[in-house]
């Protein structure tokens, strides 16, 4: 017996299982990053006056701005890839998802440059509490980016076979992967001002 509402939405909830599942998972992720952001706020406001180091002392704002643009662009292409499937255009789907993946690569490359510059200057997580929270938050975010790229890469590559056999289910999968990717993007949009600018 197959599991109901795997593909088609349940009439009274209007959702298929995976879509509800990803929203719940993202709620849990909000709590995870929320707890870390709260820790950041508490550590910063609790620091004795004049002892807190600010992001602008260490961080490269132009590079981070570029990264913000890249991630926002990747969210747009992610939606385009899903929309292309809805329009039955598999070629465009693959193009847009490929671009999304490449944006992820670009983001990681810039992040790697930032990290290595920091290390080069002797800035490590143990140097001070700002750098500790900076490396923790961005490091966790990078892990999320990598996770999303693995999923996107799989669907652009070997996972795309499903399009021929179960197109509707495959389209759903892209939608779910997209919701996750937008969340990863959103986390960065919070990280950028709170770490780099404030």
């Amino acid at each position: 017996m197959d599991i109901p509402y795997n593909v088609e939405p349940r009439p009274d909830t209007g959702l298929y299982n995976a879509k509800l599942g990803i929203w719940l998972f993202l709620a849990s992720e909000v709590m995870l990053f929320g707890a870390l952001f709260s820790s950041y706020v508490l550590l910063r406001t609790g620091a004795p006056a004049g002892t807190w180091h600010h992001g602008r002392e260490f961080l490269n704002v132009p590079l981070a701005t570029l990264n913000t643009i890249i991630l926002i662009a990747s969210s747009v292409t992610m939606v385009m890839s899903w929309a292309s499937l809805k329009l039955n255009d598999f070629k465009k789907f693959r193009l847009y998802l490929g671009v999304t993946f490449l944006c992820g690569v670009g983001f990681l490359a810039i992040k790697a440059i930032e990290y290595s510059t920091k290390f080069h200057h002797g800035y490590f997580p143990k140097s001070n509490t700002f750098l500790a929270i900076y490396f923790t938050l961005t490091g966790l975010h990078v892990l999320h980016v990598i996770g999303g790229m693995i999923v996107n890469g799989y669907f652009a590559g070997p996972g795309a076979k499903m399009w021929r056999t179960e197109p509707e289910r495959f389209t759903n999968r892209i939608e779910v992967a997209g919701l996750y990717w937008h969340f990863v993007d959103l986390v960065w949009i919070f990280l950028f001002p709170t770490l780099y600018l404030l």
Binding site: M1, D2, F33, L43
Partner: protein
């Protein structure tokens, strides 16, 4: 309905081809029933192990600095004596194992997994692969925790709460504790997502929210607590891991002196931050421990009183409200931290408010007994014992929730007595009730009533023998953290004699579990064969499936619910129970 049937038949052939092999059938199974049983056995083993740690601790408390008999050979280095450092490991790991590896996996992983799909008329959980991943993540987490005993310096020893700065500078067992915890958190996030989606999406036709068995409601609220509270501990564990491995100072204040030397760290961190993050998880976690127990007790009581639950709707609203409130009471664990009177007032107020829904549930369950012709089955005995035991646990919590009284009682044996009354004769008795009650569902056989009585009565007696004197010791001010049970403190001398009494009770309680273990295995193969619905129950898991249920898909035809979950003793009905899917 028709749609489901059609698809079931359409895929019938496809399923016949893939007769699963041993590994996919019993080990890496994606079937919720097998995963439930895996969770159940693993959790029971961990419960026994955690209990054994406690029996060792009780030796040290009653006979400090004396070689322990039987297992003393395991630690020859100290001549079989439980030294304070080792006692700390036993304490930290007893708590961790009981809560995270024993009760929660048993209550949610085992009972929830096995029963929720059956009770809501679903062929399986919504995400079978995630379900399997959830179990194996739990398993790995458990193995890491156990392995930490062999780490240099031993297992975690900073209490189950892992308070920094002690935990930040503890030996490497603490790092393994954190890694193990990450696996357990992943397991719980996967599991709780799965439960919520299953309950929302896979309810059988006609099974509206107010027709759900109370057990399903309890699992539903529990899953939300797990989903939204555990990430706070995940965040805390990540930060502590950074402190330990990358030498950051999230939880290390400036100028911290360890063994006469100032610690060479940047400082500027806050030990209290850990406490906030930890209790943001751990208070909802308390309700994760008790809500599934409420669910089990409600099912057992409705069935054995042959009456509908009194106040089913108020019980549902009570636990929903309790779920929300459990997120804003955490700092009542922290009255002693000097967080200020405004904070304390806020958290005492919310704590007093959250006691109301628990009282509603308990009251509804007690009133359900009123005027019933009760069947005194073994599960019902455990359920009946649960009511006063949980009441003692709950009521003794009130003085701890009020800052003035908590100042005296904080960190004494009173606290240990309080929460053990909630989780041991409370939750664990509910788990036993559930095991005796649903055993025929899993096996088609019933457990022995004689052995059941041999299990219940001594357990009931001795468990009170352990925990009741703790209130006396606690009010006398005996600290909960001492390896010698207070022998070195003058204020403890007057209540010290209780230590041998409590320890003897603990070991006798251990002996009282032997009939249960025998019963469990003996009944699996030799127990009396019973029909599909031996308790004459109304809910779908009994009424609409065979015992044991079908291996694939649970139901031959997905039932349609036409009535509430507890239509017992309906006037005019031919029998004293009307199954949920049966037309009047």
């Amino acid at each position: 309905m028709a749609l489901v049937d059609e698809r079931a038949h359409g895929h019938h052939e496809a399923h016949h081809h893939e007769e699963p092999g041993f590994w996919t059938k019993y080990v890496f199974s994606q079937d919720h029933k097998v995963i439930g049983i895996q969770y159940g056995f693993t959790a029971l083993i961990f419960l026994l192990f955690g209990f054994t740690l406690m029996m060792m601790m009780r030796w040290s408390l009653a006979y400090p600095n004396q070689p322990i008999p039987l297992v003393g050979g395991l630690f020859k280095a100290t001549g079989g004596i439980i030294v304070p450092e080792f006692y700390n490991q036993l304490g930290a790991m007893h708590g961790t194992i009981m809560v995270f590896l024993g009760i929660v996996p048993l209550a949610v992983g085992a009972f929830g997994n096995y029963l929720v799909p059956l009770q809501i008329g679903a062929p399986d959980m919504a995400f079978p692969k995630l379900n399997m991943a959830s179990y194996w993540s739990y398993f790995v987490g458990g193995v890491v925790m156990l392995a930490s005993f062999f780490a240099p310096g031993g297992a975690a020893q900073s209490g189950w709460t892992s308070y920094p700065p002690l935990s930040d500078i503890a030996p490497s067992g603490q790092t393994m504790w954190l890694f193990g915890m990450l696996f357990l958190i992943i397991s719980s996030v996967l599991g709780s997502t799965n439960f919520i989606v299953t309950i929302i999406q896979l309810r059988a036709p006609g099974l509206t929210w107010m027709r759900l068995p109370f057990f399903v409601w309890a699992q539903f609220v529990t899953s939300f607590l797990l989903l939204l509270a555990f990430p706070a501990l995940q965040a805390a564990a990540i930060l502590q891991m950074m402190d330990r491995l990358a030498h950051t100072s999230f939880f290390l204040p400036s100028g911290l002196v360890v063994s006469g030397q100032q610690l060479a760290v940047s400082g500027g961190g806050s030990p209290l931050l850990w406490q906030h993050l930890f209790w943001f998880l751990a208070h909802p976690e308390v309700y994760v421990l008790i809500l599934p127990a409420f669910g089990i007790i409600a099912e057992v009581i409705a069935n054995n009183t042959r009456k509908p639950l009194w106040g089913y709707r108020s019980m549902v609203w009570a636990i929903t409200f309790l779920g929300f409130m459990s997120f804003i009471v955490w700092a009542h664990h922290m009255f002693m931290t000097g967080m200020g009177t405004i904070m304390s007032t806020f958290f005492q107020t919310t704590t007093m408010i959250i006691s109301i829904p628990s009282v509603i549930v308990l009251t509804a369950l007690i009133i359900s007994l009123w005027g019933a012709s009760i069947r005194y089955t073994v599960p019902m005995l455990f359920a009946l014992a649960f009511l006063p035991m949980f009441a003692i646990g709950g009521l003794t919590g009130l003085p701890l929730g009020l800052a003035p009284t908590d100042i005296h009682l904080h960190d004494t044996y009173y606290v240990i007595g309080h929460f053990h009354y909630v989780v041991a004769p409370g939750t664990i008795f509910a788990m036993f009730a559930g095991i005796y009650y649903w055993f025929p569902k899993l096996t088609g056989r019933s457990m022995s009533t004689t052995l059941g009585h041999l299990h219940f009565w001594p357990s009931f007696l001795f468990i009170n023998g352990i925990f009741m004197p703790m209130f006396i010791q606690g009010m006398a001010g005996v600290s909960r953290r001492l390896y010698d049970g207070g022998a070195s403190y003058s204020h403890a001398q007057g209540v010290l004699h209780w230590n041998t009494f409590m320890s003897a009770s603990a070991w006798l309680l251990g002996l009282a579990q032997i009939p249960f273990i025998l019963n469990l295995f003996w009944s699996m193969w030799k127990g009396k064969k019973v029909g599909s619905n031996p308790w004459e129950a109304t809910t779908l898991e009994w009424a609409a499936t065979t015992s044991p249920p079908l291996a694939h898909g649970n139901f031959t035809v997905i039932p349609t619910a036409v009535r509430g979950p507890y239509d017992y003793s309906l006037p005019g009905a031919p029998q004293d129970f009307v199954p949920q899917h049966q037309e009047g």
